[in-house]
């Protein structure tokens, strides 16, 4: 498969995967809106049994629980607040999609989910420390940054094995190999998926430019660079990193422009790791809520 038409084929194939995070943009819009949207939010959450269960479980967890148990979604929404709710929704919906067993990239089951969760946590912590993006937006951007790779692996391209066999002898980076062997890049697939699902442009830009943040539009450069930085830190941590992981080029100019420095990033790692370990057990099991 080499032509541009194959990009469309990959995007089409993903329509058959259950649990796509397609309702996420709608929830995001509601989470940003007024309290009058709560009814609509409740309806949306109730449509998805798994999500409704996660929301209720979190509302009744030791951390959030008061004397009274939340018996329904509308009570849970009031207790958790829209930001926490959105975080649960983004983790649950994206995570469920990403744990489908796929071949390619040398992943073990759940690896892309583990890696994406690490990127999300790194992004959230850097966003808070550096005040360069909204922490919830950064978290979601981290979760969805590589959906295109998942779609490629789901499409079961034998070309992925070809890429793995020819990097690094013939191609210095995974991106170069994708361009020549596939005829397109995984970031293009991510962009097409996110556009299809109606994600806001900021997420589309993250998915499309996170490997080359210097090329991103000025208005979105900070968050794109934030995900670029988070991606590389998460790669060093190792969780869920496949055969492609260490073959991406850091964009030093963009990192410096946004104000990243190595010492501060390294110093944040203990906090990042402690947070990650709340969600991923030593044996690799993922617990989103």
């Amino acid at each position: 498969m080499k032509s541009a038409a194959d990009l469309q084929t990959v995007v089409e194939m993903t329509r058959s995967i259950p649990c796509a995070p397609a309702i996420l943009p709608k929830l995001l819009k509601l989470a940003e809106g007024s309290s009058s949207d709560l009814g609509e939010m409740e309806m949306l959450i109730n449509l998805d049994t798994g999500l409704a269960t996660d929301v209720l479980r979190t509302a009744n967890s030791a951390y959030f629980s008061s004397n009274q148990r939340c018996e329904n979604i509308s009570d849970a929404i009031l207790r958790l607040g829209s930001k926490v709710l959105y975080r649960i929704a983004s983790s649950t919906l994206t995570g469920r999609w990403l744990v489908h067993p796929v071949r390619g990239y040398g992943w073990e089951p759940g690896d892309l989910c583990r890696h994406s969760l690490c990127v999300a946590i790194c992004a959230e912590i850097f966003a808070t420390k550096m005040q360069i993006a909204d922490a919830s937006t950064a978290y979601t951007a981290g979760l969805i940054h590589d959906l295109g790779k998942f779609a490629l692996a789901y499409a079961n391209f034998t070309a992925l094995d070809d890429i793995a066999n020819r990097v690094p002898d013939e191609f210095a980076t995974w991106r170069e190999a994708e361009k020549v062997i596939l005829g397109f890049e995984s970031t293009q697939v991510t962009k097409a998926l996110l556009e299809n699902w109606g994600f806001p442009s900021i997420f589309v830009s993250v998915g499309y430019y996170y490997q080359t943040p210097s090329e991103s539009p000025d208005a979105e450069r900070k968050i794109v660079t934030l995900i670029h930085a988070a991606k590389h830190v998460a790669t060093q941590l190792g969780y869920g990193v496949g055969v492609d992981g260490f073959y991406y080029e850091p964009d030093e100019d963009a990192l410096k422009e946004v104000g990243f420095n190595e010492e501060e990033m390294d110093a944040a790692i203990p906090e990042i790791l402690t947070t990650i370990q709340r969600f991923i057990t030593p044996s690799g099991e993922i617990r989103f809520t």
Binding site: Q236, L237, G242, E252, F260
Partner: protein
């Protein structure tokens, strides 16, 4: 060397070591396992005479970046390696009989200013192994691969797994 099939070893229970953690075992019929080292280092110690093994999964080279704060010692090589050695000796191992192996330290593409944890970890391990006079018998470090390892506590062999590649023994 590719691992040969051994029905006994194949059914051995595993003790999982998380990131920034260390574990030891005095039970030969055991694997000590750690997943996805990335740029971290996995350091194994093994006393072959007494069949006592230990595994450290350290993330960063030096605890000095957190000076004055409470730290998790196994997170850093400078505090984790002495602690692993002390734990083995407490369990009955003798330093002169301990062989050490080191894994991980994967590196991102060349940059002068960012994401150099892999190379810093390898440098720190080298310095520490000299200072502590460790008998390092295997180095499987650097490169652009994410390694998972398991130490066979019967033999001291370490089985290395890399995405998309067959396992091999060091």
């Amino acid at each position: 060397m590719a691992p040969s099939f051994n029905p006994v070893a194949d059914h051995m229970p595993s003790i999982i070591v998380g990131v920034a953690d260390l574990k030891i075992s005095t039970e030969p019929y055991t694997y000590l396992v750690t997943h996805a080292l990335g740029s971290c280092l996995g350091v194994t110690f093994y006393d072959e005479k007494r069949r006592i093994g230990g595994l450290l999964h350290a993330m960063l080279p030096s605890s000095k970046i957190h000076e004055g704060q409470k730290i998790r010692e196994p997170m850093f090589l400078d505090t984790g390696i002495p602690r692993l050695l002390a734990a083995l000796i407490r369990a009955g191992a003798r330093k002169q009989d301990i062989r050490c192996k080191v894994f991980g330290g994967a590196q991102l593409m060349a940059t002068d200013n960012f994401f150099r944890i892999g190379s810093k970890n390898i440098d720190m391990f080298y310095r520490q192994s000299q200072d502590m006079e460790l008998d390092v018998v295997a180095w499987e470090v650097s490169g652009r691969v994410n390694r998972s390892i398991r130490l066979n506590n019967q033999t001291g062999d370490v089985i290395v797994k890399i995405p998309s590649k067959p396992e091999f023994i060091r």
